[in-house]
Symmetry: C2
Subunit: 387 residues, 2 copies
């Protein structure tokens, strides 16, 4: 009889690729008694969640830090329970034998400060929805304004607590890329490689500032927002909904929309010409998508997170960078336009930073940074594994 | 002594170019006892405003019809009073000796049905803010849903009333271009030339449908909108404001924003890092622009106008067109993307329509169709004057 391993082994390999990150993952919590923000304010009893995939080696030099995007959280791979409908956002490239190979690397993904998913049971964050130890009530808008550098400083403290001083790479999509680049200027000795996926400009340029203003505005105009004091009563769900609708819209591309929806109606017997209630398919698709997540978001946290991105600029600090950088822009990006990442490439090179570029072309626009990320598998693997 | 005309004439010519359309213009009113919409509904006592520039010739064959854009009105050239701060939106190309030469052409610009400037004293329109003769109260959302073809049919009736059966050209920017193309499929015998400036796709494609949804959403979420029943009390100004903010944002380009604003603060002593009240310059610039016009707009009319554009498609009627077409897209357009106008060009050509293209490159994006329109002077003049 043939060795049964010869039959089972290929199946095992197949499974590890076909399914989500093959071990169940667990949210862990990192706490700090006190954290000082860039602006000098103190945040007491700070907590953020994090997850790890793979194994930390003895030299603790196989660490890859994953940063999440604006609407995201530090759930980058795997599932919490086998029956979870979806895995972490970059599960396609994080796992055994994948581009970010958990047989080699110890991967950490953390929830940011002021994470917008404050009401999601699997997100642990500190922000305006948290209880202010000084008052025993949610901070609301009394929470200090925080910056992307504050996000990074919290992550640095988390890594310190694990005895990790060196990052093989720090990487993330969209505003995750913003955090990754901020790591490289803030802790240049700690960062060997940066991968900026669907990266923006080298600062939050004025057009991006205004886009973020538009994401914030629906919340500010919702009377239920009430100056940020809504905890324990009806929350500004209309404002959240319109804010997220705008975010989602900006992450797609018109070609994708034309191919997927055309001018189809949401319901075949409900002609949009007959009533304002009758919608086109694209409208109801976006509404459904928003509806699936709207209850997880905290309105004030959207404001704080957007503010942090508006404030971001590392333009004058690029010469500090000691890492090499891989940029993975999306060709059809209508949020982080290709011109933005071209400028980032130009500015980094002008500062003497070695930059490589791999362009995604999945056709969905900004969302390519998640949905089409496997296109960059080869480029990411090579960039991570090359000494 | 030399003939004083030799001195005065050049001065006169200079003046006619340096100043706005050189005669004062007057809003006139076209009325219909009854109008039947495309959907079969009757609108009684319909009124729209219009203006004319130049002189109708005896054969009545020197007529150019100007269509306005979404936020615009039929004030395309000149001033109502010498002290008016600004002239009509295309004053730069309409006037004696200009690209649309009022020494040769009789130019008509009309306010559309459901014009959004319903509260502007210089706009005459019929829409949800009008009094329903059946009830003596404003229609609100009981006004029938109207289409771009309805806009055109009202204009056709206006031209009929003036004894005009032939248009040398019909032209307009943005949704004005949508109306112009609709003229060409609806009244092919009447239209010799179409000029579509910053034109969109050949229909309202799904991405544009969703953009319009986002312009409508802030109004629908404003509690003061109250199902459209707000006349005579506080109007949904927050909703209008955010709607217009989005429209304005989409008409500009990031390069323009970077050059004009950079990351400058709205006030030198108010660091945006210190407070949510402290803004960047681009944010306060947009807010000021919105503030200057917000009181003129009617919320329901924004909904009706947006709906009309969402419903628009002439894709299946292109073979009816007998006009030749000049498309004047803007290279950096982020609302009517250049790919949209390329598709329009392709579709028109496939239907046997002669199409020429002149590309604006003023750097402001969609707004080039107004602010940089003089770049197309030569192309427009040639297209209009060639037999």
């Amino acid at each position: 009889m043939r060795n049964p391993l010869l039959i089972i082994l290929p199946l095992l390999i197949l499974c590890s690729h076909a399914f989500a990150y093959d071990r169940l993952v667990e949210k862990q919590v990192f706490s700090m008694k006190s954290f000082k923000t860039e602006s000098g304010k103190e945040i007491r009893d700070l907590k953020v969640g994090y997850e790890t995939y793979g194994t930390l080696n003895e030299r603790k030099d196989n660490v890859i830090l994953i940063e999440h995007f604006f609407l995201g959280k530090g759930h980058a791979a795997g599932k919490y329970k086998p029956e979870d409908k979806s895995a972490g956002f970059w599960d396609a490239i994080i796992g055994s034998g994948k581009a970010i190979d958990t047989d080699k690397f110890f991967v950490i993904a953390s929830d940011t400060l002021v994470n917008v998913n404050a009401k999601d049971p699997n997100t642990v964050t500190t922000g305006p929805a948290s209880i202010d130890p000084a008052t025993g009530r949610p901070y609301g808008m009394s929470f200090p304004i925080v910056t992307i550098r504050d996000f990074v400083n919290v992550q640095k403290a988390l890594l310190d607590s694990l005895g990790i001083t060196k990052l093989r790479a720090v990487m993330g999509p969209s505003s995750g890329s913003v955090q990754a680049l901020t790591w490289a200027v803030t802790y240049p000795e700690a960062v060997e490689r940066v991968i900026g996926v669907i990266p923006g400009d080298i600062d939050c340029n004025p057009f991006a500032i205004q886009a973020l203003n538009l994401w914030m505005s629906p919340i500010l105009m919702d009377p239920k927002w009430n100056g940020g004091d809504y905890y324990g009563r009806e929350e500004p769900l209309d404002g959240i909904r319109l804010s997220i609708k705008q975010v989602i819209f900006s992450t797609y591309h018109y070609d994708w929309a034309s191919a997927k929806f055309g001018r189809a109606w949401a319901a075949a017997d409900k002609d949009p010409a007959q009533s304002f209630q009758n919608k086109y398919q694209i409208e109801s698709w976006v509404d459904t998508l928003v509806g699936a997540f709207e209850k997880l978001y905290d309105a004030n946290s959207i404001l704080y997170h957007a503010k942090a991105v508006q404030l971001w600029s590392i333009k004058d600090e690029l010469r500090k960078i000691k890492a090499r950088v891989l940029l993975v822009p999306s060709k059809k990006d209508l949020l982080a336009f290709r011109d933005y990442s071209r400028n980032t490439e130009r500015e980094l090179k002008a500062a003497g930073v070695p930059v490589e570029v791999f362009e995604l072309d999945g056709g969905t626009g900004h969302f390519d940074g998640i949905g089409s990320i496997t296109q960059a598998e080869g480029a990411i693997r090579k960039f991570l594994e090359r000494p």
